[in-house]
């Protein structure tokens, strides 16, 4: 509620939350700079909501600190924190109409004339005529927008968004994203944003953190994480990756030479997280190009040969599956830019890539190939 | 068409059958703790068990009479409609007995079957106005309504006027909600005869009471519930009943019953056989049994009210000489001469006086 002074950075220090013997958030530490847009990604059940709830003060940490600037707010009451939340479950007040739901925070802070502000907010979330309805009379997406408006209207120092756009159609979601971003930059709010929409995270966030089983697995600028993931989990969680089980033979020059399934490949040293022993050789599907035969592969590129087993059209692009000689399936995305010709299913094809687009990750000796479309293993347990 | 018929019954209109010859049963309704019980085994009732053993009549003894008015409410519908109340014998106070007799709801007893009553009923209880032949309602126990005080919290009390005006008693006085007991004492304290008074005299007495109520002297009107309060000292003095106070003084000698010189009220609780009761003969046997002095003494030794049976005092000597000497159980002439029975009221008077009295006591 104190908005006079800037809040300062939001810092979580060794934050842990246990439910009984189950550890939902595990010794989490991170810093969200003031006024930045921070996206939290992670598998279902990995502890995102729990983390937000601890920041909001709705869940008491088992241990650890929540700091806003220099102030430890972990023991502060929720209503004393300059923090608002868009709840994953909305938590709209069923006995109040939409207008009053949105006005709630302002009224509690003793602000009298809320009408203009509320109407502006309702209009922002495109619910202009819905002020008089009860939450029960709205569709799922409409309810979610009310939840968004109800939190946004308070322009807190920190805004926690728990999948705030998940129930919206793509078009509306993009519009809302732009609004969110605008408000965030205009007002300088610190956003902590949980989303399952990776494009959303990528386009909006200054920093992305990928969480796994209660811990941060990687944290950084969206492009950095995407282009050079730190672990197999991240490589496959954020977008898809073709990960070939390989053995690295150490740095030679500024390259690392690897052997996979008898073939030899190389990766620039700067893109190797490990340079010796069992590794994953990773290439993103969109970095793979399909050609009919090995002699069409441009110079300086590396390639594997296989048979196209599936092609699926997804509008912007077509996704192919290429079964390699040793049995692994590689995923290849081809933009439907109208230029490339379609590759028929069943035909032999060669996938090639520029070594500068590959990356090396360390690998447990037991792990074998982890290409994108493998579904038989649970997510949470990976790498 | 609408409305109610009169509740009045006549002997001819509501004939009861007596099955005593074939059924050795008796349903007896009485007040709680109005029957002797064995000190050691409280499930035994020595005198009653004696009767059962002696006659072979199975007595269903129910303690379901707590209040005359309430009980009247419970049975009036049946009796007014000439239906059975499922009771062969019940015990009610004089004025209620009078009312029921007046309504024709009670069966006459056969004097030949209750010789002990004829022989042993205390003379002062003979030929009462509502039962001049002593064959409709037979006293079970009698008692006195007088003054009582707790010497622990106040000094001695002698008169009704003291009770109603003494400043140190303010707010620590109760009177009985039984109109006849309270008003009888007040009438007496005004020098009028409770057994025979005029409306003006009644109003006079009532005024006196009203002043005491309005001034806060009288804390409340009670049934039996004054007793624990008196014992505790929450109530310093009251209008109360002899039997209760004897109980209390046996514990704490400072609690005393006072029979003011202006008079005490004598009442009896009477055994009656209601219409449609089918075991009148058995009831008569029981009545007769309780008028044996020895049985009466056994009963009196427990309940401590005035024993209406001549010769019981002698029997009591054997049980508990101290009780035998207690004038509140076996009253002496002096006390009996001070005691009055409240005037018999007809229905109209009853309604009028009760109405006025209730108004004063708050309801």
């Amino acid at each position: 509620m104190t908005r006079e002074t800037p809040a300062g950075d939001l810092r979580l220090a060794n934050l842990t939350k246990r439910f009984g013997i189950f550890t939902a958030v595990d010794d989490l530490s991170l810093t969200v700079p003031q006024g930045s847009f921070f996206a939290l990604l992670g598998a279902s059940g990995c502890g995102k909501t729990t983390t937000l709830r601890m920041i909001a003060g709705l869940e008491e940490p088992t241990s650890g600190q929540v700091l806003l600037g220099d102030r430890d707010i972990a023991r502060l009451r929720p209503y004393k924190r300059p923090v608002n939340t868009v709840f994953q479950s909305y938590a709209l007040f069923p006995h109040l109409n939409i207008f009053e739901n949105v006005a709630f925070g302002l009224r509690r802070r003793g602000i009298r004339s809320v009408d203009d502000e509320v109407l502006r907010m309702l209009s922002l979330v495109q619910l202009d005529d819905y002020g008089n309805r009860r939450p029960a009379q709205l569709s799922g997406g409409q309810q979610q927008r009310v939840a968004l408006a109800r939190a946004l209207i308070n322009r807190p120092q920190v805004l926690l968004l728990d999948e705030p756009l998940g129930a919206l159609d793509l078009k509306l979601r993009r519009q809302m994203q732009i609004e969110l971003k605008r408000i965030q930059t205009e007002v300088g709010i610190t956003f902590v944003h949980v989303t399952h929409d990776q494009e959303e995270a990528m386009t909006m966030a200054d920093t992305v953190a990928v969480m796994n089983a209660g811990r941060i697995e990687q944290l950084g600028a969206p492009a950095d994480i995407y282009e050079f993931p730190a672990t197999a989990f991240v490589a496959n969680f954020l977008g898809q990756s073709n990960l070939l089980a390989a053995e690295a033979a150490g740095i030679a020059g500024d390259e690392v030479a690897v052997t996979a399934h008898g073939a030899r490949f190389s990766v620039p040293a700067g893109r190797a997280r490990a340079d010796r022993g069992p590794v994953h050789l990773g290439v993103r599907p969109e970095k793979l190009h399909l050609v009919g035969s090995a002699d069409q592969v441009p110079a300086g590129h590396q390639h594997v040969t296989g048979v196209v087993t599936d092609a699926s059209y997804v509008g912007v692009s077509t996704q192919y599956l290429l079964r390699t000689g040793w049995g692994t399936e590689l995923s290849v995305f081809t933009a439907n830019s109208g230029a490339a010709t379609q590759v028929p299913v069943g035909s032999e094809a060669v996938a090639y890539w520029d070594p500068r687009h590959a990356f090396l990750l360390s690998r447990d000796a037991a792990d074998s190939d982890r290409t994108a479309p493998v579904v038989d293993e649970p997510v949470g347990a990976s790498s | 068409g609408c409305g109610t018929k009169g509740a009045q019954q006549t002997e001819a209109g509501c004939v009861s059958e007596d099955l005593s010859g074939t059924e050795k049963k008796l349903a007896f309704s009485n007040w709680p703790q109005y029957m002797d019980v064995d000190e050691k085994d409280e499930s035994k009732r020595p005198s009653l068990d004696g009767f059962i053993a002696k006659t072979g009549i199975q007595v269903t003894y129910t303690e379901d009479i707590n209040d005359n008015n309430e009980f009247f409410g419970k049975v009036q519908n049946q009796l007014a409609a000439c239906q059975s109340t499922d009771r062969d014998l019940m015990v009610l106070t004089d004025w209620m007995a009078a009312r029921m007799i007046r309504l024709g709801w009670i069966q006459k007893l056969d004097p030949a079957k209750i010789p002990n009553v004829q022989a042993n009923l205390l003379p002062s209880l003979l030929n009462r106005s509502f039962d001049s032949e002593n064959r409709i309602s037979i006293p079970w126990q009698s008692g006195l309504a007088g003054l009582a005080y707790n010497g622990d919290v106040t000094k001695e009390l002698r008169t009704v006027d003291e009770l109603l005006t003494r400043p140190d008693l303010k707010g620590k006085v109760t009177a009985l909600s039984e109109m006849r007991d309270t008003m009888g004492l007040l009438l007496g304290s005004n020098g009028h005869d409770p057994a025979n008074f005029t409306t003006a005299q009644f109003d006079d007495a009532l005024n006196k009471l009203k002043k005491a109520v309005d001034s806060g002297q009288i804390r409340k009107f009670t049934g039996n519930d004054y007793a624990p309060d008196l014992a505790k000292g929450d109530i310093a003095a009251c209008i109360g009943w002899s039997g209760d106070v004897i109980q209390l003084s046996s514990e704490n000698a400072k609690v005393q019953f006072v029979a003011p010189d202006s008079g005490v009220m004598l009442f009896s609780d009477n055994m009656m056989v209601p219409n449609k009761a089918t075991h009148k003969g058995n009831a008569e046997a029981l009545i007769n049994y309780y008028y044996e002095p020895a049985v009466a003494a056994t009963l009196a030794a427990y309940v401590n009210y005035i024993c209406p049976v001549k010769g019981a005092q002698a029997e009591m000597e054997k049980i508990d000489p101290e009780l035998a000497a207690n004038p509140l159980i076996f009253p002496d002439e002096a006390l009996l001469s001070k005691s009055k029975v409240f005037m018999a009221l007809d229905e109209k008077q009853e309604k009028e006086y009760e109405g006025k009295f209730q108004q004063v006591i708050g309801a």
């Binding site: 929720p78 608002n84 709840f87 938590a91 007040f93 006995h95 509690r108 109800r150 | 004063v360 708050g362």
Partner: protein
């Protein structure tokens, strides 16, 4: 396929109910649900009530032995109102004050049991009704012991000068109100508990996230959401409390007597049935008027 095997097969499937029949049954359903309870009330309460209504219009000069004539004596009503309006006022006054006290005591209790008691919930609920397991007379006697002029409580209050040296608690309006509060508290707490029990905790979280202090969260979220229980509890408390007379009789003095005492005396002692019946109907009418007025104001027509 395996799936088909899981499903009961055979032709025992009843044909779909025709639309007309279904909607017909649907229209009848509420009446079927109401039938047993309503019939019970109609027979064992409604019929006697009609008789009572007739009694309230009997000729007041009738008597038990001669009987009463139904003369449509509407004058009985103004007569008793004239005579007993102070007791009427007192009844509602005491019941109202007791209600306020009971709300102050009962709401936190119901809330704690519903939301904070965890697995002690059952135990605490039983504790709420426990007093009813002793007889009302016994617990009132116990109160008399506690409030006794010579008891520890009065002694203490006198020592700290909250009570004059000759002051007392028993036989005062205080004792009557206390008795009412005490004896009817479970009637307020239980319905309130039932509706607070389903309060969604996440709404309170949302409120506190939106700057509502605990007091505001209570005022704006908890209270409105518990309205059905609050209304029900208020009614279950207030209605019987305003008709009560035992507390006034046992803990008060004639100056505290309530309308229940008057009705009691009219029926049992004075045997004035027309007056008693008229008083009863006035009481019922007053309560019904208040109840429906209250329901309208509480905006819970929905609920009740």
């Amino acid at each position: 396929m395996t799936v088909l095997a899981q499903v009961p097969t055979g032709s025992g499937q009843p044909p779909p109910t025709p639309p007309a029949a279904r909607s017909g049954r649907h229209r009848l359903l509420p009446y079927l649900l109401l039938l047993p309870g309503a019939a019970w009330l109609l027979v064992f309460f409604g019929v006697p009530l009609v008789q009572l209504a007739a009694a309230s219009l009997y000729d007041p000069s009738g008597s038990l032995s001669t009987g009463y004539a139904l003369t449509w004596a509407f004058g009985n009503y103004p007569d008793v109102l004239q005579a007993y309006w102070p007791q009427f006022l007192r009844s509602f006054g005491y019941a109202g004050i007791a209600l306020v006290l009971a709300l102050l005591l009962g709401y936190p209790l119901a809330y704690a049991i519903a939301q904070k008691a965890g697995r002690w919930k059952n135990l605490l609920l039983v504790c709420v009704v426990a007093p009813m397991f002793t007889s009302f007379l016994v617990r009132t006697l116990a109160w008399k012991t506690i409030l006794s002029d010579n008891g520890a409580l009065v002694g203490l209050l006198r020592d700290v000068h909250l009570l004059a040296p000759d002051g007392r608690l028993l036989a005062t309006p205080f004792a009557v109100v206390l008795g009412l509060t005490y004896n009817f508290l479970p009637f307020l707490v239980l319905p309130l508990y039932a509706s607070l029990e389903r309060l969604d905790h996440r709404l309170l979280e949302a409120a506190s996230d939106l700057y509502a202090s605990p007091v505001q969260a209570f005022r704006r979220v908890t209270l409105p959401l518990s309205m059905p229980g609050l209304v029900a509890g208020t009614l279950l408390f207030f209605i019987p409390a305003s008709g009560d007379y035992i507390n006034a009789e046992l803990l008060g003095t004639p100056n505290e007597y309530m309308i229940g005492n008057v009705i009691d005396s009219a029926f049992l002692v004075r045997l004035d049935y027309p007056q008693g019946a008229a008083l009863s109907f006035l009481l019922m009418a007053a309560i019904l008027a208040m109840v429906f007025g209250y329901l309208r104001r509480a905006g819970t027509e929905e609920v009740l």
